[in-house]
């Protein structure tokens, strides 16, 4: 599989980290901008974008660093969303517990399905993860206690350590941003650690890693589980933002869009995934202003990017700026 990039020089790595902080700084200023232009809807879209940025970054962890093209990551968004709905119905309303439950369910699901999927390679892996994602989707479609196919609205958002802090869109936005930054720092540390380097090694050359004495399977499975748990946090946020849950959160189109985000931004660097989420969702919103058929144009753009701009947007930026030493 040729998703591997050239090893990244440290200077460029730092450049990417800087770019991430620029995105975070701009994101922190967005509510002020929304207030100036008197458009509170911006904050709502912003929360959605940041939540998807979390999911895309989590996917990049395995797709970019481990060369595992998971086509079933929307399932974890669904686990997150349904954790909020199900626990809330039984009177457990705190977001910390929602996140904990979402991560626990995701860890179990990722361990079982990952153990089966990771034993396979290439096309098999893509199709199997897609099929498992679909299995989770159908489970929630038939869950009639929570609206089945139609989903259900949430009575309230999650409480925040006992307070109703998250009822305001603005505080939900900043909590999401804080979670994103926290997870970005965590993921950055992870990929620079010994664990991350072994994972990158399995991406480059599995046989060589085995010869050096590692068991790639363990590292890949661990990364797969971590990625699934992180993605489920995005689901918890999305459910709170929409105050509505349905199996649509976990349809295979969402899994596809997550891959699109990662590749659009450039794989194998966490910043790219975040940027990709911002670009993809803004593109949807902007095309959506002009036409209902945004998918048509989004599809065309997607094909053009794949055919003519390898490396996504960050690849494009690098080609324009020329090779750096």
């Amino acid at each position: 599989m040729s998703v591997a990039e050239q090893p990244m020089p440290r200077a460029r790595m730092l450049g990417r980290t800087k770019a991430a902080w620029v995105i975070f700084a701009l994101a922190a200023l967005l509510p002020a901008f929304a207030a100036l232009t008197n458009d509170p809807f911006l904050t709502v879209i912003g929360t959605r974008i940041l939540a998807f940025a979390i999911a895309a970054m989590a996917l990049d962890l395995i797709l970019g660093y481990g060369a595992m093209v998971s086509f079933g990551h929307a399932a974890y968004i669904g686990f997150g969303a349904y954790s909020v709905a199900i626990l809330s119905r039984y009177g457990i309303t705190d977001i910390s517990l929602h996140i904990l439950a979402a991560m626990a369910v995701s860890a179990v699901f990722a361990t079982i399905t990952g153990a089966i999927s990771i034993r396979t390679r290439g096309i098999y892996f893509i199709m199997i993860t897609l099929a498992f994602g679909q299995m989770a989707y159908f489970f929630f479609v038939s869950l009639s206690a929570f609206g089945g196919d139609d989903g259900t609205t949430l009575a309230d958002r999650s409480t925040f350590f006992g307070t109703r802090f998250l009822e305001s869109d603005l505080s939900l936005y900043y909590v999401t941003l804080a979670i994103l930054i926290g997870l970005f720092l965590l993921a950055s540390r992870l990929v620079m650690s010994r664990f991350g380097r072994v994972l990158t090694g399995t991406r480059e050359n599995m046989t060589r890693m085995e010869a050096v004495g590692f068991r790639p399977f363990r590292y890949q499975l661990t990364a797969f589980v971590i990625s699934g748990c992180m993605t489920s946090i995005a689901g918890v946020i999305l459910a709170n933002q929409a105050e509505f849950i349905s199996p649509a959160f976990m349809s295979w189109h969402i899994s596809g869009e997550l891959i699109v985000m990662v590749v659009l931004g450039g794989i194998g660097n966490l910043t790219g995934a975040i940027g990709g989420a911002v670009i993809a969702l803004l593109l949807e919103e902007i095309i959506g202003i002009f036409t209902h058929h945004w998918k048509l144009y989004f599809g065309i753009i997607l094909i053009l990017v794949v055919l003519y701009s390898p490396g996504g947007v960050s690849g494009l930026v690098e080609r324009i700026r020329g090779p750096r030493k």
Partner: protein
């Protein structure tokens, strides 16, 4: 109970041959070209829509079919020429993305051209009505016709792959693509042929089911994923695997949905049984897939991938 079982067995068989028609082309594309094609499902859908249009236009089922298949083939070749051909030597990731883009374009395009309301195709006069099987059991002639055509197609496919020159090239291409190219076979043309062939089978399947399903924009997606399960179970690139996988998946799905709740009722009370049954039934095929993969990571008839 026996009658219900025979009825569901026939339904499963009919669904199975349908899945096989779609999976056969796709497994060749996957196996020989090492190409991930997510757009196969929407091509099946296009086949059904073209069928609906041409049948409405000509008023004849046969004429409609005779027009729909070539039209779908032209469409498939156009897609191959514009997009797919450029992706043969790209990574799987690029292929996934580009064909995902195709799915978006085609399903939205279908919505623009035909609207979101489902279309229906009348069952042809000659094949309408039901015939008596055993005792009071009736079964629609058209569904039996689908089973017969599907099995016939499977037989022809078997002869084509195992007893013709093209079939020989296909098998050779699946085993060692470079060697075949080195021996002077035009691989790109072979790929185009395989792709076109797969499109034709998928569109044929779409055209055949149009009279018994409502033709709508979601029909391609539900089938696509089941087709993937079929291919994974059967082993990528294996027509024989696709045939067995398709029957297995269709039977488990059809029988599971009907008899799952009935069997569960023996161990729990009836309202619980129907709830649990409804939840478990759609998951059965995936559990089956997981079980088979756990034992054989390359599917029943797959070659080693690593």
């Amino acid at each position: 109970m026996t009658n219900l079982f025979i009825l569901q067995l026939l339904n499963g068989l009919q669904f199975g041959v349908l899945l096989f028609l779609i999976a056969a082309g796709l497994t060749l594309v996957f196996g020989i070209m090492d190409f991930v094609n997510l757009a196969h499902g929407v091509l099946y859908m296009v086949g059904a829509y073209l069928m609906a249009t041409f049948v409405a236009m000509t008023g004849s089922f046969t004429l409609g079919m005779l027009l729909a298949i070539p039209a779908a083939l032209v469409f498939g070749l156009l897609v191959e020429y514009l997009v797919i051909r450029k992706l043969y030597h790209r990574s799987h990731l690029d292929q996934v993305l580009a064909t995902f883009g195709l799915v978006m374009i085609v399903s939205e395009g279908v919505k623009i051209i035909w609207g979101s309301a489902p279309l229906s195709v009348p069952v042809p006069e000659l094949l309408s009505g039901s015939i008596a099987l055993v005792g009071p059991l009736q079964y629609p002639v058209y569904r039996l016709a689908i089973i017969a055509t599907g099995l016939l197609a499977a037989l022809m496919l078997y002869l084509l792959v195992n007893h013709t020159r093209i079939g020989m090239l296909l098998r050779a291409g699946a085993t060692n693509q470079r060697m075949v190219a080195a021996l002077g076979v035009n691989i790109t043309r072979l790929f185009t042929m395989i792709f076109a062939f797969g499109v034709m089978l998928a569109c044929f399947a779409g055209a055949m089911v149009a009279p018994i399903l409502s033709v709508d924009t979601g029909m391609g997606e539900s089938v696509l994923i089941l087709t993937f399960v079929v291919i994974v179970i059967g082993g990528i690139g294996s027509i024989r695997g696709a045939f067995l996988g398709a029957l297995l998946v269709a039977m488990v799905d059809t029988l599971g949905r009907t008899f799952g709740p009935i069997l569960l009722r023996m161990v729990m009370d009836s309202s619980d049984a129907s709830q649990v049954g409804r939840t478990l039934a759609p998951m059965l095929v995936y559990i089956l897939m997981a079980a088979i993969l756990f034992a054989k990571p390359d599917g029943l008839f797959g070659r080693k991938t690593t």
